[in-house]
Amino acid sequence: MSREGLDVQEAVTDAPAATTTAAPARAPLPDTAAVQRQASAARRRRRAGMWALRLLLVVVWLGSWEAAATWWIDPFFYSKPSAIWHRLVEWFDIGTQFGSVWEQILITLEEAVLGFVIGAAAGVVLGVLLGRSRYLADVLAPFIKAANAVPRIVLASLFIIWFGFGLASKVATVVVLVFFAVFFNAFTGAREVDRNLLDNARILGASRLQVLGTIVLPSATSWILSSLHTAFGFALIGAVVGEYAGASKGLGLLISNAQGTFDSAGIYAGMIIITVVALVAEWLLTMLENRLLRWRPSASRSSAEVV
């Protein structure tokens, strides 16, 4: 990307200089367009082969599962792909016994997103604060370590006792899961800010607040953003576990109900929905990350050779 941008620059200003490069006795530069066409054709072939292989893997996997569940193993325990598919179709066509499946997804998402936002914001604020204040960080370090070692999933049922069966207890579960994931990265990001950048900002005349806003936060951004991927996964899990522990709606309830009614296809179907939601969220976060981190060299340094 960057190279392209610069090449345009070059083409405009230095076209004459470039032609003088070739020594008279040398073979002329070959038609790079042709070389390039060759290269991209090879790339396309490679990609097609890859997709074929992936498809094959999926077919073999699902096929052997279906076959096994039909003839050898008991689908009561292991379900089978066709049954799972039917359950999914049923849910999306007719709805679940608690109402439309979209409603369940939305409720779970609402809990996850709300908790995610609160947890991430708290994580960033506290992380940056402690990252920039050595003394506070030193004092609180043992408490944070201990709090981080608490088995947070177990808290879900405590939160139900404290906050009831509604939104609040699920959001609380999500918040504690998200908070630590974000906190540690924000902390590291804020602490590892390049000393030179800080000094430079001070020399250029920045106030304490300006340093925080223009140096510390942007520096920590890539750390924070990278933590958000894991954090959103945690958020979904937190919401599901919270619903699992007690709820009247949501994907976690769907799964726990499937478990209660010996509906193994339903368990798998619920898990597939959650997985898809997580993948979509992941994709959105990657988009956000790419937007916010435009200033970084592109990560894909795929400098494989042409021939």
């Binding site: 960057s2 030179n196 250029l204 005349g205 200033w295």
Partner: protein, 269 residues
């Protein structure tokens, strides 16, 4: 040159706590002055305490003992009119060239439009017109140094501290940047303290070369460079005057370098 100096260090000492918990003296009882408009180069062996000296002048670090005086006032905090180009890259990777250069004016309260206007002028002056919207990672090392230079100069400092600004560049780019620096500096009347490892560079650029002792640093000797200005860096380093001064200063410096060398692995990279 010695009356009414812009920078004066008097008996300045700076101690750091080393990573092992011990105490390391980086600068010991250092006294030096720099006059108005003077270009002083500082050379000395690796790790002797050159950067530390600059940080005392800039107010980034307070001296452990002695005092630093800039423009007649003792240094507490960053003194007005100080510009500092760091040894390492210090431009903001998440800002474009233009916004990087506009950083200083923005910090100092200029409006966004005004800051950008002044920045655009300096981007042009350092020869980066057309690259305003590039991010640092899209630039070569030499271009990044120019951005840093514009970023520092846009604040129109009356004191310019430069810490081996060109040492990371290849020889060819470095020569170019040296010329560029002299061109931009001439006529600003700013006092310059230019730290370098490279004696050649020191002589090409400076009015006066200070030689530092091996660690802990103090001033060992001061040499005036008799080369006329304006100078063409690429030409004068093959002249005989140049070679004479070079030999003279090198004799003084070599002693300290060897002292440092003998201490062997002292420098923990």
């Amino acid at each position: 040159m010695t009356e009414d100096p812009v920078i004066r260090l008097r008996g300045a000492t700076k101690r750091f706590r080393s990573s092992s918990g011990g105490v390391h003296t980086a600068v010991h009882d250092l006294t030096m002055t720099v006059g108005r408009g003077e270009f002083v180069a500082v050379v000395g062996p690796t790790g002797c305490g050159k950067s530390t000296t600059l940080s005392l002048v800039s107010g980034l670090e307070p001296p452990s003992e002695g005092e630093a005086v800039v423009n007649g006032r003792p240094v507490t905090g960053i003194p007005d009119g100080v510009g500092y180009m760091f040894q390492a890259d210090a431009i903001l990777p998440w800002r474009t060239v233009l916004d990087n250069v506009a950083t200083g004016p923005r910090y100092r309260g200029a409006s966004k439009r005004e800051a950008r206007e002044r920045a655009r002028d300096w981007v042009r002056r350092v020869g980066l017109a057309g690259f305003e919207d590039y991010y640092p990672h899209q630039l070569s090392g030499g271009m990044r140094k120019r951005v840093a230079m514009a970023q520092t100069l846009v604040n129109e400092p009356s004191i310019l501290l430069m810490d081996e600004p060109f040492s990371a560049l290849d020889v060819q780019t470095r020569a170019l940047m040296q010329d560029e620096l002299l061109r931009l500096w001439s006529g600003t009347g700013a006092a310059v303290v230019f730290v370098t490892h490279d004696l050649e560079e020191a002589i090409c650029l400076a009015d006066r070369v200070l030689v530092m002792t091996a660690s802990p640093a103090t001033v060992k000797a001061s040499f005036t460079v008799p080369l006329a200005r304006p100078r063409d860096v690429e030409r004068i380093r093959l002249s005989t005057e140049f070679l004479d001064v070079y030999r003279e200063i090198w004799e003084s410096l070599r002693e300290e370098v060897e002292k440092t060398r003998e201490r062997g692995g002292k420098r923990v990279a």
